[in-house]
Symmetry: C2
Subunit: 199 residues, 2 copies
DNA sequence: ACCTGAACACCGTTCAAGT
DNA sequence: ACCTGAACACCGTTCAAGT
């Protein structure tokens, strides 16, 4: 409710930065372009953010919150918990494909989240939401009974690796490589088989 | 033998760029700093490379070749093929930890390898060398009989995801998360169990 | 409290010359 | 063939003012 209408300058700057990021990548997010898009001077952003990195961090924090909501929606939506996990991962992959520059800002850029603060907190909450979906799959016996956070870290890292390689253009020429979505399905089926094989 | 002694200017520029990359990240690799390190003017690099991106691409190509040699060394070195794979992956993880900026240049930077050319070719050859190690594990029955390149892509993407998240500082605060090396071992053990469960 | 304009140091890149 | 110096357009950031 708070920001339903009449966004303030800080919010407008974040939205404009995200749009520039989508349109032209990180290098297109100049304070001059952001200021111009909002209708203020090129150093007005300094009245709302300490520097350019903080503005980008605000973009990342907002997107982490959106992703967390996406994961929360997928939890317990289907009858089969493994279906929820597949949907959550497909949504994650779709996010990476649609917003590659944002994706790398959130999950690869060393300047974000490494400093701690808001982005790191939001990132961890997003991760925990994802871990809850994995936990339900484990409870249903569809994934191995490995400690939840370890298994979640493994699955999440795999998804990230697949998306990041795709976003970075590393999986294009190499034929006979499965798509991220197919690779994730392969991982889940192998893990499921592993879970079923416990004596 | 060719570049045993008396490296030419182009080679010296690549070495200097790599050193600056290690010392201060991508943003520290300015043509002015590279030129100064080699003892030439700030636009001498243009006589050897079309632009800054091409210089960084040359750094990446050289490192891909080094990594390929590392993988080749690990193949067939131990009696057990799964041990070779673990060693190759540990060497890969160590490379990422030692040279984080180089690592992200090779495997995350969208400006490298996406354009094709030398870096993409070298990257694919490195990948195929890694795939050969995976193939030996499959032949020994220690990994599932999934199509080799699909399984290799999955394992490689997982390793990349773990390393990239670590390099980007995404796995620090989150306690109870396994290290990349531990996570990879978890993956391999689960895959091995999956391979053993085939009827 | 919030914003502006000028200024500074720094970049990648281009170009006209130099040997 | 290879290099240099000046110049251009651009950037993040700072600062002294303005309301």
């Amino acid at each position: 409710m708070k920001d339903a209408a009449a966004p303030n300058t800080a919010q407008k700057l974040v939205v404009a930065a995200a749009a520039l990021l989508d349109a032209g990548g990180t290098s297109a997010v100049t304070l001059r372009a952001v200021g111009h898009a909002v209708g203020v001077s090129h150093n007005a952003p300094y009245k709302h953010f300490p520097d350019r990195a903080a503005l980008l961090a605000a973009v990342a924090t907002a997107d982490f919150t959106t992703l967390q909501a996406t994961f929360a929606e997928n939890r317990s939506s289907a009858t089969r918990s493994l279906t929820n996990l597949r949907r959550a991962l497909d949504a994650f992959i779709a996010y990476g494909n649609e917003y590659p520059a944002r994706y790398q800002l959130l999950f690869s850029n060393p300047d974000i989240a490494a400093h701690g603060g808001d982005p790191a907190t939001a990132a961890f909450e997003t991760f925990l939401e994802f871990a809850a979906i994995v936990a339900e799959c484990q409870a249903a016996g569809d994934l191995p009974a490995t400690p939840n956070l370890e298994l979640t870290g493994l699955i999440f890292a795999t998804a990230h690796g697949l998306i990041d390689l795709e976003v970075g253009g590393r999986m294009k020429r190499e034929k006979r490589l499965a798509s991220p979505s197919e690779s994730i399905k392969l991982l889940l089926s192998l893990l499921q088989r592993s879970a079923a094989s416990r004596s």
